[in-house]
């Protein structure tokens, strides 16, 4: 029973991280209909920026904020410089560019920061919480992960549902041409979508890094799981990203705990296959009507 509880807690924590990365994928998919394969390596890069700043003994939370801002700028610049010139070209072109960017960023990080393993100090204790005589696999830091992602999700919800900028973003996602005819500067909205996606990614990087000994490819597997989460949730739904993240996190935790951790990637594949065959548009996405 305690194994089940611990696996569940572990699954929730991991799921929240997958959800944050998946949210980034959703932001970019909604804005530009591109699957961003560089989502993980962008997050990795800002995490390296953060750890470099920490090496210089700069305040932890200041560094935390700086990494998020670095993500914001990086996402925006990538959209303007690399993605925007490809608008109107074949849909595969920008996807290939994000693949190239994925390789480029990992190579760049390796040559700038080194390929060796690094460690990232956690903001809070990583010792499991103790209740009476039993200790559970859930620490203060896990609680922080949970809170950070919940805040990210709530922020996204408020942005989309309660602000004029969110209204513009939704209009630009659903009907870009109509949005332009109503005066929405859609180009800027797309840039903003990429920038916010990179912030979500950066946050995920900062939350993962303390739990692993990390190197330039530490986000690769997480991107695979986050992609699974995003597809489960439907790729264009922020709520779907959260639920998809939790479903993926919990499933993989049970697979890893009961069947062996080497089976986790296969578990992700199984989830993808089940969801794609039962509900190809994902759980929270409405099927797109086919034009005839």
């Amino acid at each position: 029973m305690s194994l089940f509880i611990n696996l569940t807690l572990n699954g929730i924590t991991n799921g929240m991280i997958f959800a944050a990365v998946a949210l980034g994928l959703v932001f970019i998919w909604r804005a530009t209909h591109i699957v961003n394969f560089s989502q993980g390596s962008m997050a990795m890069f800002t995490t390296y920026i953060a750890v470099t700043l920490l090496d210089r003994h700069i305040n932890y939370w200041l560094v935390f904020a700086a990494a998020l801002v670095a993500g914001l700028v990086m996402g925006g610049v990538i959209e303007v410089v690399l993605i925007r010139p490809l608008r109107g070209k074949h849909a595969l072109n920008p996807v290939i560019v994000t693949l190239g960017l994925f390789i480029l960023l990992e190579g760049l990080a390796g040559s700038i920061f080194g390929v060796g393993n690094r460690s990232f100090p956690p903001a809070f204790s990583q010792a499991g919480l103790t209740f009476g005589h039993s200790t559970i696999a859930f620490s203060h830091f896990d609680l922080f992960i949970l809170a950070a992602v919940v805040i990210l999700m709530l922020g996204t919800l408020v942005l989309f549902r309660a602000t004029n900028m969110g209204l513009r973003m939704r209009a630009a996602a659903f009907a870009p041409e109509v949005a332009r005819l109503l005066g929405v500067r859609v180009g800027r909205i797309l840039t903003l979508g990429w920038a916010l996606a990179a912030v979500a990614g950066s946050l995920a990087g900062l939350l993962v890094a303390p739990t692993v000994s990390f190197s330039p490819n530490f986000m690769d597997l997480i991107l695979v799981y986050a992609f699974t989460a995003a597809v489960v949730g439907g790729l264009d739904s922020p709520v779907g990203a959260l639920v998809g993240g939790l479903v993926t996190g919990l499933s993989l935790s049970y697979v890893g705990g009961y069947l062996g951790s080497s089976l986790e990637p296969l578990g992700a594949l199984a989830i993808l296959m089940v969801v794609l065959s039962a509900r190809p548009e994902g759980i929270f996405s409405r099927p797109a009507p086919r034009r005839v």
């Binding site: 004029n164 209204l167 513009r168 939704r170 659903f174 005819l181 109503l182 005066g183 500067r185």
Partner: protein, 235 residues
């Protein structure tokens, strides 16, 4: 005044518009008529900046529009209701309307502009929070026109507002367009397949065939020209 001069547009090898010249005067309705594929929609899309011209000029109130982005043309007071209405189904009725006001009005002003629109279309006022996908065809057209009006335009480009609507609803919409032009000095360019309805409210008419202007005259004289009607307008 909208001034289109010697405008040509092509989609690759296909010449969609060739040397199109006409004016639309302030406070009038100008009907743009012609068969399917004549280039009417392309004409509107070129005015609002969605389609790039090949040659010629489009200016509004003396300001050259060619080369401006869609978003900046909107900011000159030009509102385009696209074919098929362009209501965003995934947004509520209120969100659709608000979208048209975001670029220019503050919160206070926005509320009063939207109240005016709801007064004009009471059917929409009762269902502000419902998704636009729940509306009927006629209601969607009202929402699309209301949304275009919410930016307080000086020039309204309407692409086939009667498409798919019952005759009674079409008549209501046409009456509304005429009233707006008369009372608010709105300039309307109305693309229509429904020639009779369009001619009944328009002052001027432009007939286009295969991308060229056949005639640009008063609506009354176009309606009276039996041969022209037979040849190009099908009645």
């Amino acid at each position: 005044m909208l001034d289109v001069e010697d405008l040509s547009v092509s989609y690759g090898a296909v010449q969609a518009l060739q040397g199109v010249t006409f004016q639309a005067r302030e406070g009038t309705v100008t009907a743009v008529l012609g068969a399917n594929g004549a280039g009417k929609t392309t004409l509107l899309r070129t005015v609002s900046g969605l389609v790039k011209r090949q040659s010629g000029n489009v200016s509004y109130g003396g300001v050259e529009l060619t080369g401006l982005s869609v978003e900046n043309i909107v900011r000159l007071g030009i509102s385009h209701v696209p074919e098929g209405r362009g209501v965003i189904e995934e947004l509520t009725i209120d969100e659709n309307l608000r979208l048209g006001t975001l670029w220019q009005f503050g919160r206070q002003e926005r509320r009063s502009v939207l109240d005016e629109i709801y007064e004009l279309f009471p059917q929409l006022a009762q269902r502000k929070r419902r998704m636009a996908s729940t509306l009927s065809g006629g209601e969607r057209q009202m929402l699309a026109i209301g949304r275009a009006l919410s930016s307080k335009p000086k020039l309204l480009l309407l692409d086939e507002p009667s498409l798919g609507l019952a005759p009674l609803v079409t008549a209501q919409i046409m009456a509304l367009i005429q009233e707006l032009a008369r009372e608010t000095r709105l300039t309307v360019v109305l693309v229509e397949q429904n020639v009779r309805s369009a001619l009944s409210i328009a002052e001027e008419a432009v007939v286009i065939n295969l991308g060229r202007v056949v005639i640009a005259d008063t609506a009354a004289s176009v309606a009276a020209d039996t041969e022209l009607r037979h040849l190009y307008l099908g009645f």
